[in-house]
Amino acid sequence: MEETLPERGWSGPLTGRFRNADSLGLAQTLNLRQLLYGAFLVFAGYFLGAELGFALTFKPHAVSVLWPPNSILLAALLLTPGRWWWVVLLAAFPAHCLVELKSDVPTTMVLCWFVSNSLEALIGASAIRYFIKGQVDLDRISHVAILCLCGVFLGPFLSSFLDSAFVVLNHWGGDSYWGVWRIRFSSNALAALVLTPLILAWVDGRQPLHRKLSRSSYLEAGGLFITLFVLCLIVFNRLSPDAASALLYAPLPLLLWAAIRFNLRGATTAIATVTFFAIWGATHGHGPFVAESVRESAFHVQLFVSFMSLPLLFLAALTEERNATKETLEEREERLGLAAETAHLALWTIDFERGTSWINDKGRELFGLGPDEPLSREVFLDCVHPEDRERVNRAIEYAQNEPQSFEVEYRLLRADGMTRWLISRGRYLCNSLGEASELLGVAIDVTGQVKANLKLRSQQEELARLSRVSVMGELTASLAHELNQPLTAIASNAAAGKRFLKSDPIDLKLFQELLEDVFADARRAGAVIHGIRQFVRKGEEGRISLNLNDVIVEVLRLLHSNVISRAATVETRLAPNLPLVLADPIRMQQVLINLVVNAIEAMEEMPVAQRRVIISTELSGTQVQVAVRDFGLGLPIEAPEQIFAHFFSTKPNGMGMGLPIARGIIEAHGGELEAENLGDGACVSFCLPTGQDSRPSSEA
């Protein structure tokens, strides 16, 4: 564990800066003190690493099994912004010289080695930076893979060619080019595999070193590492070379334990421990790796450690990744739960493949489910109001057949007899075969809104009705005239009939015609009264397919006397074959009466010859447009829209309710009502969408 010590100290000042910062962003934040401190740590690390590398060579041959300085350099580069790399290399240089000169290496060779060592770290660090922008995060499998590929393989692989060339050109030692290359590559690769992740894991800025661990975790970690120490000591140092090689697997369970329970730091530390003991044992002639030649021994150790480390690193990353996912999921679930709770949402899922279901507490309360009662479509449909059940079921069925979302509004009949209004939205999730595998849903209780809407609607209904009553009040005289005409005819016919009876012979044909007239007039009077009653009666809106031309004719019949008494004339330009609209006939009458009466009243001060109202209908696109045009005073110029404001009236005794209500009615029917000045009068027009039934009406 020697080599980890400097890095442990180093992490303090630097990592604080690395947190949440990318390599470019943090370049500006390094001050001189930190730089010097970092440089010193690189120096110390490089020096100690080299010492360690020497210690782990096969004596008396200088065959190094593990060469740590380059890996430490690599880790230092990865932890430093690119623009400060030269400082790292500068700091490593004296350490390099110090170590090498101590062992009587010629100066040229020292410099050459420094070049090749630096090159290895630079190649590795640059390649990694190329793929990973920002901090290397060994919690992620992709980053581990990139580190292994670039730092562990590519750097040593490429730099070893140069290094071997240096060695051969300087005639240092007696080895062949490829012999040197192989030793150089394997020792450096092994160091990069073992040490770089170790340093990076412990210096990881996002995980504070003194993360609060529970007492049991400390005990577990302590127990684990003591056991690992003892086991490694026995397996790699105390056993004789001819002991059963299967004993090599003894540390494996502990390594897995470390990787799974203590993630990256545990795994890298355990790997380093095992590596250290294995090499120490081999270099001192103990343990299972001692082979006939030194090189072979070294190679065995290297192979063993490499194959052990790689999967463990990935396993640790995988565990971290899984933990992170789990944490994210839990966090999300918590947030979602909080949101659902705050919004009084019921959430549920039904997994068809596993046959399981989940529903939150609010949902259980809403649907009246027991704590452990499973949710299914049948259970859900049982709660739905019988009148809505079929509709809801159809919506779900439809969504399931071609997996998609659905939204449905329905009533819920609860066990306590109360009815709640709900809106449910659901989505089917598909499996890989495209079948619906899971249903996610949310339901919200909108009873309050629905009730408020109903109340508002009934208030609006009442207001509209009162407005109609008021219109009727204004039209009393006209309506009386409309009634008096048939009554007069009936009375006169009756009187005439009475007299005809005295004549002899009685003219039966004349009598029959007279009675037919009486009958027709009675019906006519009845129709007027019926119209009035319909017009002012309370009642739900009832929309039917309607020809607006018919409504106009009907309205003109009602207003007939009114038009006459104002000495106005009404001209109709009704489009033939007008498509039907879906509308409430009474409300359409109300709107038209309002518009026509307004138009007539607007012309009161005009000369008689000018008092004309033109009512026209036409089809424009998919809409039926009705325009009522007058030749009166026009709208108030300063604010034409004002006429739609409540209680605005230009009439001395007007209530100012007619037009706003008319507009409200038209808008409720999905149309628009607007008014414009035409210079010599005004035109108020409205349009309504034609119903689905766009066949031209026969009676148009």
Binding site: A477, S478, A480, H481, E482, L483, N484, Q485, P486, L487, T488, A489, I490, A491, S492, N493, A494, A495, A496, G497, K498, R499, F500, S503, D507, K509, L510, E513, L514, D517, A520, D521, R524, V553, L556, R557, S561, I564, S565, A567, T569, E571, T572
Partner: protein, 180 residues
């Protein structure tokens, strides 16, 4: 005006038929017609003479009625005929005026609220073209000081629809008496 006697009651309906047929609820009535048109229609209207009932009393008295409602016209026509008057009904004020003028009708009954024109306007025109004709005004709506205006203009009676048969007949008799 030549009165054709000896016709029976059915003749009334036959004569009134053109009026009923030409009546259109929605028709816009124009008042400024060309002179030729008016003349031709007046001559045609001569044939619209009423029938004669074999009721004694008013056998020679011709009463003209103007209203825009065909049913009301028919019923009043029947009532008057049953009472022994000769009756001619009109829905067109212009033709009515021409006819009254030409035939020097003693008593006319006018409706007030007609499409495009009021009975009061007809009354004032009538005073100019045929001042001796007595006018009975009838109306279905009494608002707007119609009664005062009508009486001021010299109407002999003002009837509010629906009125009783005797009310009408009395009014006609009073008008005739006043005239004579």
């Amino acid at each position: 005006m030549k009165h054709q006697r000896g016709r029976d009651a059915i003749g009334l309906e036959v004569l009134l038929m053109p009026i009923a047929l030409s009546y259109r609820h929605e028709t816009k009535v124009h008042y400024r017609r060309s002179f030729e048109e008016v003349v031709s229609r007046v001559f045609r209207s001569v044939s619209w003479k009423t029938s004669l009932m074999s009721v004694e009393g008013h056998r020679n008295t011709v009463v003209y009625v103007l209203d825009d409602d065909p049913s009301v016209l028919r019923s009043i026509g029947r009532l008057l005929v049953s009472e022994g008057f000769q009756c001619c009904t009109f829905h067109d004020p212009d033709i009515f005026l021409e006819s009254v003028m030409i035939n020097a009708i003693p008593v006319v009954i006018l409706d007030v609220w007609m499409e495009g024109v009021t009975g009061l306007e007809v009354q004032s025109k009538l005073q100019r073209v045929s001042p001796r004709t007595r006018v009975i005004i009838m109306t279905g709506r009494t608002d707007g000081g119609v009664r005062q205006t009508a009486m001021k203009m010299g109407a002999s009676a003002f009837l509010v629809k629906p009125f009783g048969d005797l009310e009408l007949i009395n009014a006609i008799e009073v008008a005739l008496t006043a005239k004579s």
